[in-house]
Symmetry: C2
Subunit: 364 residues, 2 copies
Amino acid sequence: MASYNIFLLPGDGIGPEVTAEVEKVAHVISGAGLAKFEFEKGLVGGSAYDAHGQAISEADMARAQAADAVLLAAVGGPKWADVPYEVRPEAGLLRLRKDLGLFANLRPALCYRALAEASSLKRELVEGLDIMIVRELTGGVYFGEPKEITNLPNGQKRAVDTQVYETYEIERIAAVAFEMARKRGNKVTSSEKNNVMKSGVLWKEVVTDVHKKSYPDVQLEHMLADALGMQLVRYPKQFDVIVTDNLFGDLLSDVASMLTGSLGMLPSASLGAADASGKRKAMYEPVHGSAPDIAGKGIANPIAMIGSFGMALRYSFGLIEAADLIEKAISDVLAAGLRTADIKGDATSSVSTSAMGDAIANAL
Amino acid sequence: MASYNIFLLPGDGIGPEVTAEVEKVAHVISGAGLAKFEFEKGLVGGSAYDAHGQAISEADMARAQAADAVLLAAVGGPKWADVPYEVRPEAGLLRLRKDLGLFANLRPALCYRALAEASSLKRELVEGLDIMIVRELTGGVYFGEPKEITNLPNGQKRAVDTQVYETYEIERIAAVAFEMARKRGNKVTSSEKNNVMKSGVLWKEVVTDVHKKSYPDVQLEHMLADALGMQLVRYPKQFDVIVTDNLFGDLLSDVASMLTGSLGMLPSASLGAADASGKRKAMYEPVHGSAPDIAGKGIANPIAMIGSFGMALRYSFGLIEAADLIEKAISDVLAAGLRTADIKGDATSSVSTSAMGDAIANAL
Ligand SMILES: CC(C)[C@H](C(=O)O)[C@@H](O)C(=O)O
Ligand SMILES: CC(C)[C@H](C(=O)O)[C@@H](O)C(=O)O
C-alpha cells in the first residue's frame, strides 16, 4: 500500500479545529486499505511568529519542500495586526507558494444542490454551478519588485507595488487551464485588463498563442476582469474554466465563492511544475481565512478543509477513487440535511465542526 | 437664469443614442426656467481615432478643460481591437480623467424598488440598496510608471505595470468619502490589500490618519478587497460609502452594479479638486460601456446617461432641486412599469431608448 507524507500546517484561528477533521477522514481511507498517510505538523502564520518570530521557520520550509503534499488551513488574525510587514502571518503563506513554485492555484466553485438555497443568488442561477478558477499564484503584483514605501522630501510617503509577468509564466498557467477545460466543459475564459495594463496586453497575447498552437479544440474567450466580476453575479453558469492573474484571481474567486452559499465550502489546490518523474510540489488549502471571530468555538465548517485533502488525493496521489468518495460523502451529508452554522440557511439547527467531520468520515 | 456650458462626448457604440436622450431632459429643465444649457459636441474613443488618428484631439481636450462639465457616454468596441495601445479608445477616456485631474469617481449603486426583481440576488438582499462607491481615479496601476513590455534576451517578453500612491492622493480621496458619508449613513468602508501590497499598507495608514484628525464622528471600517468582493454579494446592505483605489474600484463597482439589476442603470461623477472659487472640474459618465452588440438598434437603456446628467446638475451646478426631479422622474417611470430590454425581467414588453427618454422627460 502506497504511503504518503503530508505536512500539516494548521496555522491560526479555526485552522487547528478544521485540520483535526481531516485526520478522521484520512483514518477511514487508510483503514479501507486505499493508502497510508503520515502526518507531520508545523507552524505557519501568527502561531509561527509567536513561537519564533517568523511567519514560517527554515526547518518547516524544509519539511514543506520534502513532503509529498502540504495541507495548510489558514493564517492571520487581529492579534498580529501590528507585527512588521515582513513577518506578518501572510508572509508565511506567500513564502510557501513562492519557494515551492506553486504557480497554479485551482479554485473550484461548486454549488451543491442541497445548498443552493444558502446562496445570495436566486436558486436557478446557481443550482448545479460548477466553475474552475485557475489563478496564477507566484507572479504579478504579489511578488514584483520594487514593492516599497519611501519617504519623500516633502514629508509625504510614496508606496509602490509592481505587477510583472513574463511570457513563460503566462504560458504555463494557460496550459493548466486548457488541460483542465478538456476534462470538463472544454471552455476557457481568460481575464485581464488589457485596456489599461500592459501585463494584460501580454497576458491576452500569450494565452491566444498557446491556444492557437496547442489547444485549438478548446473554446477560448477573453473577458475584461471588471466585466467578469459583473458576469459572475449576473449569470455564473456561462463559465467553465476561468484563467486569470494572481490579484484578479484573488478577488474573483472570493466573489465566485459567495455564489456557492458559503466560503466554508471551498477547497483549493496549488500546484508546481511537474518534474522529470511527473511529480509536482503541491499545497492544498481552503479558500476561507482563519475566521478569528469564531475560532475555538467548535462551529467552523470543516468541509473546505476536508475537500482540500480530497484534492490532494486527486492531484498529488492519483487516488481518484478515494477523492471521488470524499466528494460523494460531503454531498451525501449535505443532502441528508446536516449543516454547520455558516450554511444553516433556513435549517432549524446546526452541528459542530467535529460532528460534521464525524458524519463525513462515517459516510465514506 | 444661470447658463452652463456642457461638453458632450457621445463616444462609440450606444453612446450617441443615449446622449440624445439627455438633450430631451435638458430641454425640459431649461423650459421650466431652472437653468440654461449650451451643448458643444466632440469626439472621443474609436470615433475620434477614425476621424483623426487620436483617441481625443488637442482641440477637444481644450474644450473639455474650458467647459463647465463634460458629459461622456462610452468608448471602445471590437472595431478598434487592433489599434496601437497609445491611441486605443480607452486612452481618450484615461487622458480626460488624468489631465482634468478628476481624482474622485463617485459610483452610486442604487436598487430601485421597481427593479429589485431584475437583480440576480434575492429580493430582500437588494431592495432599497443604496451604496456609494468612491473610487480613486487618477492614480494607482492605471497611471504608474514604468508601464511597458520589453523583449528579453531569451526571446520572451516581460510586461510591467506599476501601482503608485502618494500620501496626498489617499488623503484627498479619503476626505471625499468621509464628507459623502456625513450626508448619508455616516459610515465608510475603506478597502485595499494591505496583507500583500505596500500601497495597501499606506492606504490604510493614511485613511486612518485622516479619520482620526478630521472625521472621528464618521464610522470607519477596513476590509480587504477580496473580502469586500465577497461581502458585496453576501450582504450588500451592510455598506454605506466604500472608498478604494483605482483598480479595485473598477472591479468592485462592476460587481456592485450587478446587484442593482442592470449596468444600464448606473451613473457616475468624476470630480477634480475645488479651485479658489470653489469650482471643480468634472466629468459625468454612465458606468456601462459602449455595448457594441446592441449599438444602433435603439434599445439601449438611457437611464445611466440621464442619471449622469442629473449628477452634473447636483455636483457641478448646485441645481439640487432639478437633480432631485430627474431622480424622481426615473423612479416614477420605472414604478409605472416602463422597461428597456436590459431591465425587462418578467415584464411582457420593453420600450426603445427614445421612448424611455421621452417618458422621463414627460415625467419631469
Ligand atoms: C491571505 C492572503 C495573502 C491570500 C491572498 O491574497 O492570496 C488569500 O486572500 C487567498 O486568496 O489565498
Ligand atoms: C474603459 C475602461 C478604461 C474603464 C476603466 O477601467 O476605468 C472602465 O472600465 C470604467 O470603469 O470606467
